[in-house]
Subunit: 322 residues, 2 copies
Amino acid sequence: MAPPHAQRARTKSDAGDELRLRAAWIYYMEGETQSNVAAILGVNRITVTRLLSEARRRGEVTIQIKGELASLTELQRDLEKRFGLQRAIVAPVSDAKADPTAVIAAAAGSHISALMRAGLTIGVGWGRTLHESLPHIEGRNLKDVRVVSLLGGIMEARRFNPAEFAWRFAELFEAEGYLIPAPALVDSAEARKVLLDQCGLEHVFKMAQTAEIAVFGAGGISEGSTTYKLDHLNEIERKSLTDAGAVGDVLYNFIDGEGVPVKHPINDRVISVDLESLARIPQRVLVSGGNDKIVVIKAAIRAVSPTVLVTDELTARSLLKD
Amino acid sequence: MAPPHAQRARTKSDAGDELRLRAAWIYYMEGETQSNVAAILGVNRITVTRLLSEARRRGEVTIQIKGELASLTELQRDLEKRFGLQRAIVAPVSDAKADPTAVIAAAAGSHISALMRAGLTIGVGWGRTLHESLPHIEGRNLKDVRVVSLLGGIMEARRFNPAEFAWRFAELFEAEGYLIPAPALVDSAEARKVLLDQCGLEHVFKMAQTAEIAVFGAGGISEGSTTYKLDHLNEIERKSLTDAGAVGDVLYNFIDGEGVPVKHPINDRVISVDLESLARIPQRVLVSGGNDKIVVIKAAIRAVSPTVLVTDELTARSLLKD
DNA sequence: TTGACAACTGAACGAAAGTTCACTTTAGTT
DNA sequence: AACTAAAGTGAACTTTCGTTCAGTTGTCAA
């Protein structure tokens, strides 16, 4: 014969299940207040509170958020919490094989548009993604906007002219553009010193350091990546940089996997805002994505702890993996 | 060229979608308070309230209650609201072809067990379903419980003795049983009068009318149903009853589809609590189910407006259909 | 430009929900 | 039968939520 208390316990717990389920139904499906639920079920309101939280604890009540965007939102929140971002923007990717630059550019353009306001000083880098975001930036007539280059340009314009980005960006908002009329990478430390001292570049850098927003990318350093950069960086330099631990660059500041600038002579020949200054700009928007950028994005996040990261779905998942 | 405000509107609404989705995610998935959500998103708390209700209004947030019991709960609530019941109990059915009596009996037994308390006077009918519920009634030692028969018995005990139900029920709670030592259906109105006046049956009926709870079934009248009843009711009587509009009985009170007692001499030969008295008992538990009972259950509900209905899934759906 | 209108935003209030504590009831034990 | 431990229940309080109203911003048309 079965122990009587066992039978009793089962019956009681079943009745509890039933009551809990009814409470959940009336509260969540019929939308009654907890007081009304209590009245309908003939129990105390506090009991209903307890039944409902028990139901949620048991996972008997599940809340779903519909739409394919929901998974993106989850990714965004995960990125934000994992990397301490104020905001992560993850662009959806339809074709996993395709280059994510286009979607990232669209997302970045939209976000930058929303950031712009009168009286703003914004520092900008350059790169393929930023360039492609131009059509997605919605120009407005804003007063007292200043657009400042965060680094020099390159001599031979190819697919696009880096300097063009800051300039066209400024144009969109009828803003003043402060460009750096010098190469990002010069031949020697001396040449850099001369340019900084004598060509008024100091002024532009000062202004860049007062910017409220910085928008920039992150460059990889593997053979395949950032083809344009190969014009400036020959294979020997690239090799010596990777030997020094570099995984990529932010504004031509080459950093290792930890986000620390590598000890390498090339860093003395760069004409750009240094990472410390960049990290002091209140809003730092890092725009980057792609499989070959994972490592450098992580490094860049450590180096300048951006407030905003704009990337794509696949890159986001890779960044979160491990 | 597209109108600029169209572009603007799209962009704005997209941003709104995004914000709403993020709010919904952080609130529902991460479980933050609305104040925290507001802080995370950098907006006002009230805005978050509005975003969330907008998301719910749009159906972007769906709440699900899991488990196969959830659909039963829905049926129960529908029955309760449709027929003005305090409580509907719907037993799950595994096989649509099978007789639902067993599951209804189990549900009824469990519910009756929960209803029982010391000092209670409970009136009971009889029938196959109630008989089968006996093993599911959990007996306890309760003080001052009185079990009263609501109607007479039958002479030839076959599969079960109707009187046995009240008696065994009383035994379960070590209660006093007040049975009606007479047939439910006698040969003539005179015989009924004599029995009532001279055999002390009046006393039992008085007590039945003071019961706090009544538990009873509903009987169909078609050829196939309630086989036991055929002992008392011959084919001619049955025919004349249906001709009079009867669709079945509650405690041998034959009623039409509207729940109104039919005008028929047989009603003068019945020894049972009449429907008006039954309807005055505070808690009225109707236990019935099966495809052939649909019509009589509806009629019974109209006749005595039970506070509790115990039935099965399929019957419940049929009752709600139309 | 300027004025009117609409949409959005924020503050204050009242309602609802959740938590903590003390108490009652109940089951098991001596 | 009386005691103890534990589960359950209810009341007061705090926090959170939703609604209403007034103010603001932005937008469109004249």
